[in-house]
């Protein structure tokens, strides 16, 4: 990461006319939103007029017009995150680095953030983001790197990765009858995994299993397409890991 790099000329100077920006959550608590953006713009050596022209647009982009004079401490988590995004955009970068942009947000705030990030992608900006939410990665990413303990274990487009590593369908079976069902129907799936009381049937042809399960009224189950979360768990295992 750039902030971990001591060598100003190599890291922090945007090269070949492009600029990057990284969001961070550190605020000056005594400054309001406008002042925080203004002061941050100066770190990039931007001219005053340029900064002042951008601030209203950025506040609008972040849906924070009504909070322009509020201090960061008065903002909700989602608002703070959007202010971070606005601040990272102050130098109109081509590349944005975002570290877990929606962690800890409620669904509405998360969807608003996703919408804004999609918007930036449509404007032609590149985004490099880290996330623990596989649906976020699936939604936003053209290219995906799966990292485990700092090592790359898969790379590619989300749909292609899923197709390459996983069966197309998943049937999750819950509750007391799940273990028995797994024993009885294991032949109908290509793979069965266990996580706690739940059994995951991975298969390409779900009809026979769904018919068999449908006949048994004591069993609760869910049929869905395989997703990135399945891929991640297949590649990294289902065990809880100690924080490395």
């Amino acid at each position: 990461m750039p902030s971990g790099c001591p060598y100003r000329r190599k890291c922090a100077r945007p090269s070949s006319g492009s600029a990057w920006s990284a969001s961070s959550t550190a605020w000056t608590p005594d400054f309001n939103c406008i002042e925080n953006l203004r002061v941050y713009g100066r770190y990039f050596g931007l001219k005053r007029a340029e900064i002042e022209a951008r601030i209203p647009k950025l506040l609008e982009f972040a849906s924070l017009q009504s909070k322009a004079a509020a201090k960061p401490g008065e903002l909700s988590g989602g608002m703070k995150r959007r202010l971070s995004l606005a601040r990272a955009l102050i130098n109109d970068p081509d590349l944005l680095l975002l570290d877990e942009p929606t962690t800890g947000l409620d669904p509405q705030a998360r969807h608003l953030m996703w919408e804004r990030l999609q918007n930036l992608l449509q404007q032609g900006k590149s985004i490099l983001l880290t996330t623990h939410f596989m649906d976020e990665a699936e939604r936003l990413c053209d290219r995906l790197l799966v990292l485990d303990h700092g090592r790359k274990i898969a790379e590619g487009r989300p749909r292609e990765l899923i197709a390459a590593h996983l069966e197309s369908d998943v049937v999750e079976v819950y509750g007391d009858g799940a273990a028995d069902a797994a024993l009885r129907h294991v032949g109908l799936a290509e793979r069965v995994e266990t996580s706690g009381e739940t059994r995951f049937f991975y298969l390409r042809e779900p009809k026979p299993l769904l018919q068999a399960l449908g006949a048994d009224h004591s069993i609760r189950y869910l049929h869905r397409p395989a997703n990135l979360e399945d891929l991640f768990l297949k590649l990294t295992g289902r065990q809880i890991r100690d924080e490395a």
Partner: protein, 261 residues
């Protein structure tokens, strides 16, 4: 790590917005801090200067309150710069993560440390300016040379900010700074000819006293406050510069190691 932690400082003009940031925060909160900065040195000045001064009479031909005021103004510069470069800089570096977010912009750690050092010195000058006005208003001294004491005390601020940043770079928490104040700065104020002449102390202590940055500061500033030119200025300036240069370099190396190890 691409560049050695021991490389010489590389400062770009990007330090300016960092300095400006701290100034803007200070302006927002200036009211209470100005009052504190004036009141803190003023109270002992009145108590000891007038109270004790009535019993002591004169020291080195000066009324005690003038002797005390012309010494303790250097202590004020020292304390203001040290406090800013310890507690406040640590808040920005560690607690608020301000430095990290600044480094996400094209501003380097070297720029930030330089800005923090200058800012602490600038803040010392603000405190000192307030005290000079009080000395003028109270008619303790109205010498024109007092104006020159301001830049000199700015330089004293640079020296003590640089020294303090060494301890800032080493700190794990605020508690650590108590040691610096209690074991370094407080004894130094008693050894530096602020409250009584250095010549009152045993000879071996006098030798130590003469290489302390605060006694160098007092040697330069006291004459300027009372309306004279310093008898010796090269030696004290050299002492202050030595502490500033060595302190700043050590502080920078340690801060780089703290961030980039």
């Amino acid at each position: 790590m691409l560049v050695s932690a021991y490389a010489l400082p590389r400062v770009s003009w990007r330090f300016l917005p960092v300095l400006q940031r701290n100034l803007l925060v200070w302006i927002k909160l200036a009211g209470p801090s100005i009052l504190g900065n004036i009141a803190e040195p003023l109270i002992p000045l009145v108590a000891f200067g007038y109270g004790l001064g009535a019993m002591i009479g004169q020291i080195d031909g000066l009324p005690y309150i003038l002797y005390l005021a012309s010494g303790s103004i250097a202590v004020s510069a020292t304390m203001a710069a040290s406090f800013e470069a310890l507690y406040s800089a640590f808040s920005r570096m560690q607690m608020q993560k301000t430095w990290e977010s600044i480094m996400n912009a094209p501003v380097s750690l070297d720029d930030i440390v330089f800005a923090e050092m200058l800012w602490a010195a600038l803040k010392a000058m603000f405190s000192v300016a307030a005290i000079l006005i009080v000395l003028f208003v109270m008619n303790i001294s109205r010498a024109p040379t007092m104006l020159l004491a301001l830049p000199v005390l700015g330089f004293v601020g640079i020296t003590f900010a640089s020294m303090a940043l060494v301890f800032n770079a080493l700190a794990k928490g605020y508690d650590f700074f108590t040691y610096y104040f209690t074991l370094v700065l407080t004894p130094m104020t008693f050894l530096s000819g602020v409250y009584f002449p250095i010549s009152q102390m045993p000879e071996w202590l006098q030798v130590i006293a003469h290489v302390l940055p605060l006694s160098a500061a007092v040697e330069l500033v006291r004459p300027l406050i009372i309306g004279q030119w310093p008898e010796h200025w090269l030696g004290p300036l050299a002492v202050l510069a030595a502490y500033a240069v060595v302190g700043y370099y050590i502080a920078l190396v340690l801060t780089r190691r703290r961030f980039f190890r």
